[in-house]
Amino acid sequence: MSVQVVTAERWDLSYQRAFERHWEDVFRFALAWTNDWAAAEDLAQDAYLRLWQQRGSLDWQRPVLPWLRVVTRRLATDRFRVLRRRILPRSTALALDEAVRDRWLDAQVAMALLSPLERSALVLTAVEGWTYAEVALALGTSDGALRAAVSRARAKLEVA
């Protein structure tokens, strides 16, 4: 009946929980979109900064992950951010094991042939196991366009 009283402590706890539960999801989405490790870490951090800034106006009773996904995509498509990414040097994901890193760098080259939308569509459905509805919501696209992007992406990778 009553509106939940959200005190500073509860925000803090909710934020911490959102960080611990969803950081990897947000990062991998950002990685799929940008195809760049450092840019993805940057984006994930910015998405959580937005979450912290808006903690007072957010409805914490509802799942926070869809909100984070949409914010991440909006941040990723921000015009100035795209420009900034172009002038920053590409990172080579040094925190990884050598074998994993080499395969990742190969994959990164092949993935660079896809558009951000195609790459995200394929990775999120095929690797991350999101439903089509979730991906469509996060990418701001229709179900049909999404399915087309997935199959186009797969076809491009086969010949990469």
Partner: protein, 383 residues
């Protein structure tokens, strides 16, 4: 059959992306505080506030421009008290010394809210500018407790403080130390208008009004309402001072430590009346029964009405009121911090209301803390 090239790429992507580890979450203080050392900011802010707001004496303390027309704002419980908002009259003060042990120790951060001079009360913990007492001192705020207001007669004798002849009951004094004056002799003060008598809780070491005399109201920056750091001791700062020979308030008649059956019956009756008012559609009457913090939580009568009307249309007029077992732990489990300071835990009663029309639904029950106050029972919705 060989796996496809696309699957190879996706597997490589998975191996890398899933080995990413999230960074450590910065502690909350680091998330909200600026990188500039905090003391410098506070000192600068205080100097600015003092320069700007030392206008006409004793009217409004703190940045005058911060108040909307209509007077000083009540503390808004839903706002984060630990986010300094100068335009809401709030600032954060770091404790530098120990006159307020054990409540506040050096390094603690207190949220200080400016307020009208008339709203200052005995027992309030206040931050003030020490330069009125100590010419040339660094303008870092001192934090102490008001024990007497303008017009009061203060006496210190036999280790106790007497205000207008009544001995203060001071549970907050550090280790129950006696209050003495440096000379050792008894001392009395007549507090002029627009002055306060302030003492540190750490009576043996604090240099306070016993040494420097009454403090002008104009020096007071605001009331310490909330201890923000350390996180382990986060919580509201209560304003408590009791004149032991003055008329006892409900909390000083501490004979019973738990509510009596009559108290429980009265609480049940209060919640029944409240719910019946809502069922009848008399939202104003129900709203008037809420405690001030609970009213502030709803915002206003109109938002309360909006909130309740929709719900009580589904209730179909049926409800059952059940007082819960008297257990302080049960109450504190449900108690939001914003209500914490105002609830008399030893005498409050937790009362449940169930709505059969909504049974099985998460919205099928409400909980209220019924708090005895000097002006009757007040309801606090906790669920």
């Amino acid at each position: 059959m060989a796996r496809s090239r696309a699957d190879d790429i996706l597997n490589a992507w998975r191996a890398a992306a899933h080995s990413a580890t999230r960074p450590a979450l910065a502690p909350r203080s680091a998330r909200i505080q600026p990188a500039v050392p905090f003391g410098i900011l506070v000192a600068t802010a205080v100097v600015l506030v003092l320069l700007v707001a030392r206008g006409p004496r004793g009217q409004v303390i703190g940045p005058a421009a911060s108040f909307p027309a209509g007077g000083a704002p009540a503390a808004v419980p839903s706002a984060d008290p630990c986010t300094a908002a100068p335009n809401a009259g709030t600032q954060l003060v770091t404790i530098e010394q120990g006159p307020m042990r054990p409540l506040l120790v050096p390094g603690d951060v207190v949220s200080v809210t400016s307020l009208a001079a008339a709203d200052l009360q005995r027992g309030d913990v206040v931050a003030f500018d020490p330069t009125t007492w100590l010419k040339g001192a660094a303008p870092v705020p001192f934090v102490m407790r008001i024990v007497a207001l303008g017009g009061d007669q203060v006496a210190i004798r036999d280790g106790h403080v007497f205000v207008n002849g009544a001995q203060l009951d001071e549970p907050y004094v550090f280790a129950g130390e006696p209050t003495v004056v440096q000379s050792g002799a008894a001392a009395t003060w007549k507090i002029p208008a627009d002055n306060m008598f302030v003492l540190g809780d750490n009576r043996s070491s604090a240099a306070d009004s016993r040494t420097y005399g009454p403090l002008p109201v104009a020096a007071i920056i605001g009331r310490g309402t909330y201890r923000c750091e350390p996180l382990s001791r986060r919580g509201p700062i209560a304003s408590t001072v009791q004149l032991s020979s003055a008329s006892p308030s409900p909390s000083t008649t501490a004979a019973a430590e738990t509510p009596t059956p009559a108290d429980v019956a009265a609480a049940k009756q209060a919640v029944t009346t409240y719910t019946a008012d809502l069922v009848r559609g008399d939202y104003a009457a129900a709203y008037a029964m809420l405690g001030p913090e609970a009213q502030a939580h709803f915002g206003s009568l109109s938002s309360f009405t909006y909130d309740q009307r929709a719900f009580f249309q589904s209730v179909a007029g049926r409800f059952t009121v059940t007082p819960q077992p008297s257990d302080v732990g049960l109450i504190t489990d449900w108690l939001p911090t914003t209500y914490g300071a105002s609830i008399d835990l030893a005498h409050a009663v937790l009362v449940e209301v169930t709505y059969p029309a909504m049974a099985g639904n998460n919205a099928g029950y409400s909980l209220f803390i019924v708090n005895p106050t000097a002006t009757g029972l007040r309801l606090y919705d906790v669920r």
